[in-house]
Amino acid sequence: MVTSSLNTFKGGPDEAGHFGMFGGRYVAETLMPLILDLEKAYEAAKVDPDFKREIDYYAKYYVGRPSPLYFAPRLTEHFGGAKIYFKREELNHTGAHKINNVMGQILLARRMGKRRIIAETGAGQHGVATATVCALFDLPCIVYMGEVDIARQAPNVFRMKLQGAEVRPVSSGSKTLKDALNEALRDWVANVEDTFYCIGTVAGPHPYPEMVRDFQKVIGEETKAQVLEAEGRLPDSLVACIGGGSNAIGLFYPFLDDKEVRIFGVEAGGHGVETGEHAASLTGGSPGVLHGNRTYLLQDDDGQILEATSISAGLDYPGIGPEHAWLHDSGRVEYVSATDKEALEAFQLCSRLEGIIPALEPSHALAHVAKVAPELPRDHIMVVNLCGRGDKDVFTVAEALGVQL
């Protein structure tokens, strides 16, 4: 499937933050000096052994890394094809991969002397992770969250508040993740002196897509070592769900130049990409500029952004990280979609067969596994990023299944 003749797929971004034609720094002038400062601080931190030691320490003793690579025997047996492994990111502290990135950014904020942390959240996983690390380091934390998401992710709202964060409801636009991002950017513009904006995914202006990827790539680095230990070779395929795409890029990035590894990113198909009600920016969108970067977006003919639709609040975003847009156009990663219904089925199947209740987000990845695994040979090794646990989703799923709790 690799159509590009590039020597490496790991070279991006360039100095201006571009992955091919994607990425960049499309922000208001007020923010520009802050973004340049952040870039400088990150460039210095990432080559500083002390910074790495600090991250490694908290990753091990606070987050609980490395997360296991688990062979899923009953799901493998059920599908009767590919040998399925789970990268157990749901076992991290706070129950998702999000904390890998948050720990990195908050440690960077501390280095920069920033005392006030803001974040946006969709499903609430990034908000919870940010609230958690802010509690750990005694930093005031403000989380912007769309009113629609607040209603469907009540447990996470409460978790954030328990840890001392202020959750500010966002009532503009579609009242979901994209609007929370707008509101966080507005806060940042108004509080430039002391505030660090902790973005939750591999989107936003440069250097965020690169920085968040770097903080998440531990997922793929561990996976590589673990699969080599378990199987003595690299996997044949990787599967991860994609909203903004941070868990996916974290798993994919270390494998991008291993061209024998097929890589699948699974977008949220909502009611079906053909219905127009979905969150599949690559499968059903086109290039545009939003939230500081050029990427694939759901938009109309006049360049107005459309609302995304997905049962999963974490995937309900009309854009995608610019590196994914580039990996899509270069052909290195294959992007597919799974519908709400398919994700719900996979959610139940995994719960029943493996005793692991996955979040609705990785249930989309599992839904793709259900489509392809049965047809693959038994020696095909497939790694799925189980990027979050499903406790937060039980109310949503119960409602979708018509169960009264």
Binding site: Y26, V27, E29, V189, V289, Q299, D302
Partner: protein, 288 residues
Amino acid sequence: MAANSNAAAAAADSGRIRRRFEALKAEGRGGLVAFVTAGDPDRATSAEILAGLPAAGADLIELGMPFTDPMADGPSVQAASQRALAKGITLRQILEMVRVFRQGDDETPIILMGYYNPIYIYGVEAFLADFRSAGADGLIVVDLPPEEDAELCLPALAAGANFIRLATPTTDDKRLPTVLSNTSGFVYYVAIAGITGTKSAASGAIDEAVTRLRRHTELPIAVGFGIKTAQQAAEVAAIADAAVVGSALVDRVKASLDAEGNAGPDTVSGLLGLVSELAEGVRSARKD
């Protein structure tokens, strides 16, 4: 004043912005830049407002191009954009509004202000061609800093549009030359670090900022963000070359609408009345 002295590769522009600031200077006063959102509350009413602005005392007009995700705007301009989009305004229709306006007024500069994506989707080349032929003069695109000049700024200058950049309290002396390098027409100083329509800056801080800007540029300087009253407009116009008022105007539109969000009997007259008050304010503040 050589308005375009530092613009790179600029084709001949319409000259309206330069002529207007020269006239203001000759009159010995600062100007009023009135911001309204195109298509708010509907196309016909918006066109009527636009046509009435010069007579009400607006020296320059900023016409907002609505975007679904206006991340530098506060609640007032966000709501105005939503109202206009709900009534179906498109970029093509906005350019048509400018064309119609120009048939009745060949002197008042029109600056289109918005975000990049609708222009990108329209197609930069097609947009600039239609922009010029419609009779628009300047462009302010909030999410295109100098780092992305190749996208629209350079093609716009080459096509004879004035590309007006925002300078902000976070733009320090080191960065100012970068911000000013491809700016033409005038410089828009954002008086506060923040979004539109919220805080107001102290006039002392504005004075200091304008003095600092004048060390770096000969372009006229307009100051905006947080100016709501005739008195504030007068204070700013006494210091800068023009005062920009936006949120207060779109709030006046909003206050005049009926429960369904449709234009009321005094939508146009109320808005133009407020513009007249602001215009009197800036005219009362004569410069030395």
